[in-house]
Symmetry: C2
Subunit: 124 residues, 2 copies
């Protein structure tokens, strides 16, 4: 199942099993990180980037939504010194491997929400 | 189909058809906006907030991923003066209405990506 491939990717990241994680990706894997406007081309670049990502981070998978060869994931990453990071990702599989990712990484909030809408909103 | 309910929600937002959009939401609808740490409780608060959202924004639906009663969406919102906003959303349906939303709204990038990873990355 497609969802199990994506779940396994996050589990292998969490375990720092980089070579095994790489085996889940197509050779020509491409990831877009929309928040920072970055594109990572190729399995090796993606694995090396994540292998070198600083911090003692830990990943929790909140939800996987699968439709055929596409899986959407919600994860939370905690890191003791930098905080909590929520991320949504959309993964496209081809022949059982992940060929394409589009990721939405949120920064921890730096400012309170705009005042104009406070009448309709609670703070999490 | 669940996906058609979510597509219709975005279409009705785009058309500023607020009352019709509200009819797609459960009375006890709750939305979480994770980037800003906001929770919007109730159909009316969500509709009023969006009705009052400033700007001449326009929504394009990029992708919908459906699994049973859950739909993940990717959209892009453009606004002439403030820029381009990417968002992922996860919507849970109950009895054909949207009961729960978890949204990942990205701000336009304000700074270049960290230099430590530039060797593995292209700019979008």
């Amino acid at each position: 199942l497609s969802r199990e491939v994506v779940r396994r990717l996050w589990e292998l990241f969490e375990a720092r099993e980089w070579d095994q994680a790489g085996e889940l990706l197509a050779d020509d894997f491409v990831a877009d990180w929309l928040q920072t406007g970055e594109r990572i081309r190729g399995r090796e670049n993606y694995i090396e980037l994540n292998r070198n990502y600083p911090g003692d981070w830990s990943i929790t998978v909140k939800r996987l939504v699968e439709e055929g060869d596409v899986v959407a994931s919600e994860i939370v990453v905690t890191e003791p010194s930098t905080g909590t990071f929520h991320a949504a990702g959309f993964f496209e599989l081809r022949d059982g491997k992940i060929a394409r990712a589009t990721e939405y990484w949120l920064d921890p909030p730096t400012a309170p929400p705009p005042a104009w809408r406070s009448q309709w909103v609670e703070r999490l």
